[in-house]
Amino acid sequence: MEDVVLLDFWPSTFAMRVKIALAEKGIKYACKQEDLFNKSPLLLEMNPIHKKIPVLIHNGKPISESLIIVQYIDEVWNHQSTLLPSDPYQRSQALFWADYIDKKIYGGIGKRIWMGKEDQEEAKEELMQHLKTIEGELGDKLYFGGEKIGYVDVALVPITSWFYTYETCGNFSIEAGCPKLVAWAKRCKENESVSKTLPDSLDIYGYVVQLKKRLGLQ
């Protein structure tokens, strides 16, 4: 019998990727919440190198790094809802855009916006530029994966739960600059795997307000 455990932290967009993939495949798993200010011995044992979540533990063996975990899930549970294309060239393009998303959109740009310091304006501009680029890649497709959710959709959609926080802290509208992308996010949420995984935008905002207090940032 499969034993699947996910070491999680509910606001983490990286962990959300894994949860969406698991839901797409209909995989049952135990979800353990980590306190990142007080990491469990299990987390430190299962990810000694980076000491970060998410960590997927499959039959006792750990896999770390969200995109690597999603690829692993896709390969092991390949009977249902394939996320990566089967054609090697199409696959390389999907991997490229997920890597772009990791480097440019998930790589700390959001923090510069919600921290609200001198580099906030620059961060807002950069974010909109990158979102516009990825919007261009979506084009007229329903999803990045085509007719249904694929690897790039899974890689990107979690950050949309943080858009309200960025917009409120940064006083701007992401929808105004990227209407197609916001429409795509809404379309993704029509899928249960996404709607049941993504936390409420207001809950994320509440979390950030608490975090800023804790960090002494007003």
Partner: protein, 219 residues
């Protein structure tokens, strides 16, 4: 139809070297085009408009960018010879993890050993050696990260060996003294033609680094 393969590259680039090694391991013929990174070709800008970086692999006119993605692509398309990634999904996830670790730690910290001075440099050297020691731990007693043969992690890491001499001279430290097993592994890799013919001479790399330091006004 004959395969048409072009690699846009820069001789010093550890990322480009990964692709050269993978192509050599598979015995694939391709056209190598050297880019001048201060004067990028129209072809490069057309084939990698998003990052405008090398290496770019152009297969039958279609570009693949990012070295780890290129190596995986090569491994999948030419899967009949010298497989680089393991066939088992868990082993594959482990290989990808360590390749990602190399990307996150080795390049950035190594670059800091020659680009910075004083305390920043000391911190970078320490972090760099720590990271190499973790890789040594992963290698264990295996001849290669891939086991009995060169594998994905070997291809991803060994290009940086051509930069070690430059790091050591600029940072005034010995990598071999701290990580003898890793240096032994690197020398073992260099006995493979696919590696030795893909890596530039260490002295040439150091010479170029000195030239870059002058250009950037770094001591």
């Amino acid at each position: 139809m004959a395969e048409e393969l072009v690699l846009l590259d820069f001789w010093l680039s550890a990322f480009g070297m990964r692709v050269r090694i993978a192509l050599a391991e598979k015995g694939i013929k391709y056209e190598y085009k050297e880019e001048d990174l201060r004067n990028k070709s129209a072809l490069l800008l057309q084939m990698n408009p998003v990052h405008k970086k090398t290496p770019v692999l152009i297969h039958n006119g279609k570009p693949v960018c990012e070295s780890l993605i290129q190596v995986q692509y090569i491994d999948e398309v030419w899967h009949h010879k010298s497989p680089l990634l393991p066939s088992d999904p868990y082993q594959r996830a482990i290989a990808r993890f360590w390749a990602d670790f190399v990307d996150k730690k080795i390049f950035e910290l190594g670059t800091k050993t020659w680009q910075t001075k004083g305390e920043e440099q000391e911190t970078a050297k320490k972090g760099f050696i720590e990271s190499l020691k973790l890789l040594e731990g992963e290698l264990g007693d295996k001849p290669y990260f891939g086991g009995e043969n060169l594998g994905y992690v070997d291809v991803v890491l060994v290009p940086f060996y051509s930069w070690f001499y430059a790091y050591e001279k600029c940072g005034n430290f010995s990598i071999e003294a701290e990580c003898p097993k890793l240096i032994a592994w690197a020398k073992r890799c260099m006995q493979m033609e696919s590696v030795s013919k893909s890596l530039p001479d260490q002295e040439k790399v150091y010479g170029f680094v000195l030239h870059l330091k002058k250009m950037y006004g770094i001591e």
